[in-house]
Symmetry: D2
Subunit: 359 residues, 4 copies
């Protein structure tokens, strides 16, 4: 199986985790650990692609210390603070290109054309969009650039991309995949909080109040503190489900920047309920995760799904991705677990050797 040719917009902690992690698993494989025993992996293979089958072919950023740097150096460059894993990193023959800024991210601008050209020349299959939250215009421009170059786009951020109907229609028409929006962390606060709220409701315990606070030491937490409101609503949406009264739930997406935590994220959760005869039920929880690992464990699935869809000629959104996105195109309602599983199987089938298909 040809490795996946990946271009990235934003060379932050997520890319550091993805790049180092791919090497981590390559070494595990070399040490004789079987794929099924790799720690932290949801899907060892997607359409034949393993978790180390990545080739980084292009990278865009605007940070002065990263633009012009060798990819491997940029990945380890501050403010990135994902831990340096105990693996040797290969020299990747890629220099970080200057990416688009808000000011010059119009389709047709010099920066835009430069990105399209670079994507074509690198023969990238997938462009992973992973810039800081809040740059809607830039996000749209990268999606348009990917489309112009015939490259599948994956959007890790809350910006509108696959949920933009016009954009999605254009990708569909062109037979190019567009996967988004906003990745759901592999084991994040939302998924845990949602599980506990759902359990409370299923067991007939009445929710009195619940809160969730998140804090950490990477750039997301430095930036997020002021943009809390939209993120807050998006997090509350993620908790909504049958029988759960989210009006009793409060969420602080970024309670503060705690530098010592580096790329770790800590969440504290509290649930107060009333059981039989109104007597109290009280639950307190602390969750600590490596924030960018939590993203990369999902990104590895998204980019493989995007590449597999591209290779199969499937344009637009691919339901196989819906389970690990916060806001999939069409909403969660449009993609039942059965549809998601079937879509994943269909991708896997396309990857089976012809010999199997026609004995």
């Amino acid at each position: 199986m040809e490795p996946l040719r990946l271009a990235v917009a934003g060379v932050g902690n997520n890319i550091s985790a993805l790049f180092q992690g791919a090497e981590y698993y390559r070494r595990a494989d070399a040490e004789g650990i079987t794929e099924d025993s790799f720690p932290g992996i949801r899907l060892p293979r997607v359409a034949g692609l393993g978790v180390s089958d990545l080739r980084f072919v292009a990278a865009f950023d605007v940070h002065p210390a990263k633009v012009g740097a060798a990819f491997t150096d940029a990945v380890l460059c501050p403010p990135n603070n994902y831990p340096r894993l105990d693996v040797e990193l290969p020299e990747v023959d890629v220099v970080v290109d200057e990416g688009m800024r808000v000011a010059d991210s119009e389709p047709g601008s010099a920066a835009f054309d430069r990105v399209v050209e670079r994507l074509r020349q690198s023969r990238a299959e997938v462009l992973l969009y992973s810039l800081p939250t809040g740059l809607q215009k830039t996000a749209t421009a990268y999606a348009r650039a990917a489309l112009a170059a015939g490259v599948a786009a994956v959007n890790c951020t809350p910006e509108l991309m696959a949920r933009d109907p016009e954009l999605l229609a254009d990708f569909e028409r062109a037979g190019v995949p567009l996967i988004g929006d906003d990745l759901a962390s592999q084991f994040g606060t939302s998924v845990v909080h949602r599980a506990l709220l759902g359990l409370l409701a299923a067991r007939g315990i009445t929710l009195v109040s619940s809160y969730q606070l998140n804090f950490g030491g990477n750039e997301d937490f430095r930036n997020l503190r002021d943009q809390g409101a939209s993120k807050q609503q998006s997090k509350l949406n993620a908790l909504a489900q049958d029988g759960v009264d989210t009006s009793r739930v409060e969420v602080i997406p970024s309670a503060g920047f705690i530098g010592q935590l580096k790329d770790n994220k800590v969440a504290v959760l509290n649930l107060e309920g009333r059981g039989w005869a109104g007597t109290p039920v009280s639950l307190d929880l602390k969750l600590k995760v490596q924030d960018s690992s939590n993203a990369s464990g999902v990104i590895i699935d998204l980019v493989r799904i995007a590449a597999a869809a591209l290779r199969s000629g499937i344009g637009g959104f691919c339901p196989a991705a819906a389970g690990v996105l916060k806001s999939p195109a069409g909403g969660h309602g449009a993609h039942s677990p059965e549809v998601v599983a079937a879509s994943l199987r269909a991708l896997d089938d396309t990857a089976r050797p012809a010999a199997n298909a026609h004995p």
Copy 2:
């Protein structure tokens, strides 16, 4: 709807919670709170029976201070330490009878015959078995006594009752319900731990280790400390599920008796996992519940199911109860969620007024 005529073996905290709770909801109803808004209730109605539709008609115990006491007094008698709820308790016209002891619990013994006679005379519909853990012989004798009196039996404890094939067959033949074994707390440590372990597995996080400790201040915790081993295994069984390696999980059912907690139970849980690239995921949780409320919120469903089954002439185990039992007859595998739901609907249907059925 005639209220459910209930006999109880063991007048401990669970019965205090059940009796006081029924009055609590009666008052809530009187204050105009609708059933659907009652706190802590999973099923407002089971086959037409509401949560206050209980009449205590007989009670058995061996505690010197309880035997011979008026039921209402026995319920509040130490070592019972369920909180005295802020509701007025009715005088129940029942005196606590001396129950069976291990030594005289043979069918045919004087104590056995006395219990059978009392059950018959009281016209009980359901006998709730709720004695301390570990008295297998006594449990069997109470089941046999219920059968002899034509009274449905409900077993809250880990003792074998509905899982005893011979006993179950005899109840089936006689057309008398036998519901057990071992209630699953309404919102207990096991259900929370199980949900989190399942979530971890579903998201592809590799479990490294996990522990669970429980402690509290009621008699269960005083007694349990030495009988940990069987309880430990039963708790581990409750956590087993697809993708979860329970060999990495340790459980201490009773870590200690802390008198100040009274009838509260506290659990501390820890999960350590590895995500993408082997980086750590760590979760700590503290759960505090009113132990006997947690039981009564489930008992109220079990006794209503038992009564409804008896009224409908359904003998043996009733699948409607499987979801709130730790070890249902036949095992969990025998009762899919669909079967459980259908069984519950069938009971509800029998309770519909004839007028509806034959217009």
Copy 3:
């Protein structure tokens, strides 16, 4: 002993706690509970004054719903959300006056003169300054007004008052007490964090990192989120002590407004250290307190000290107050525990009946 005649600037939660609490203890006394058994009291008597010996004689605020309202109503008026204690509140014959605003808080302004006049007319002994954090100019004006009226001033806030050398000198010259600045909560995050950091150092455990986050549901938390920086430094200062490297400590004074917590404050603390052979020591703590109770438990000492000093003719700062202030005049270094204790004893002595002194 004459009750203390108290005027308050700011009728927020602290005043609600103080007013309701004084009644709470009055009732406890009526029920025969002795002073020494009152819950939550550090000093049952200060210079003969008990915790219920308060008479509210004047109150200033600028909130439209409070100005002009009867004192008792203003105390319970939202956004105040201190719990309504289970005590009957007396009708206090005081209407809330319009206080000074930033714009008209110059000594000599109409508002200033009105406050001075009101203080005089009410024969207040102590003016308690308890407005939201950040109004330095207003704080100074209230202090000047108190001085003009010969009323002792107590400053609960981080604003400069007793640390303003000119202001302090003027109070000293006039023989009027000035007690400040910034109350240390009775059992707050700082005092707990400080104790644990000190203990770690004393035992030879090397501090690696530590953080502290605070959140709650009263107005302080709504306002504080943007003014974190100065508060952050002041909190770090409170943790500084021999052997503690505060460069390894991070503090978020307000991690977020969680409305459901109402007037409760929650803090989460973490300490990571290294012990023998560099092996890890890890401590996590959650503290939940009633925020305004935590303040009032200290205010009750401060106002009694201020009144006692005034009655004894002691102007300026009174060392007896140093132990419960975050930033006492002269700094903590100027007031050893011995000096504080001696000052408190001296106040107590002045209150002894002459009969005792000269039998």
Copy 4:
């Protein structure tokens, strides 16, 4: 400075921690880290002795796998499960001798004489007694053997040794140090709990209830579960102090054996109090430490104090050790902080080069 010649009775985790730790610091020193920056060290020097100035010269145990083994192997032999630190361990030219058992621990028995002979022959200065809790007779025998050989004795366990007046008098008469009893962990649950209870009292918060549970995965936790009662009282004693009502405190010294924790110890603490107006104060804490490191960080001080006292000819108990013992000879009251500090300084003085003393 001659290294300290140390004999050990019991080759468990504490000795593993002590031995590996000494090498850890030796390497740190070789890497240019100054003593004052060593992590986890309370006293870099005691009477001139550094933390690596240890020579293990004799060792006693009864575990079949340890007796006859090379010291270095025995230290790493299961059930010992202290982590293998990342340092190279030297081959120590000592074979573990068979120690005394309860049956043959009379002074004059063959086993006793063998121990005395071995101590003499090894020219040990200090015998560290560190066997499992509960072997009073064996503890006394080891103390008597040390005395017979003129070797200072240090008792890490709760057994009576320095508190045995007759034994202590005999050591005093012989001019041989006897240091004990029962080491206080460097940063253990008791010291943290005590600090928080003391703080609560000092601030005037009324204690309502408090509990402490400890659990872990080393042999202590496997053994302790049944011997809880005496340990429980000893832990409660450790919490007693002015203003603290220990009748409201409950302690479970070993809540359970959790193998996955290995040599780590976890404690959970809860304090519930009442502040101003009876409103609640609630504190929850989790502490995780490397159990044997916590002991060795104190043992290193105790053995250096014992050796320094021996070298100075000071027999009996040495007050310098009182601060890190749970039950020092004479009780804590007999050794004020000033006395302890003076005793430590006196030891240090004896170690100053003669050139300084006689210029």
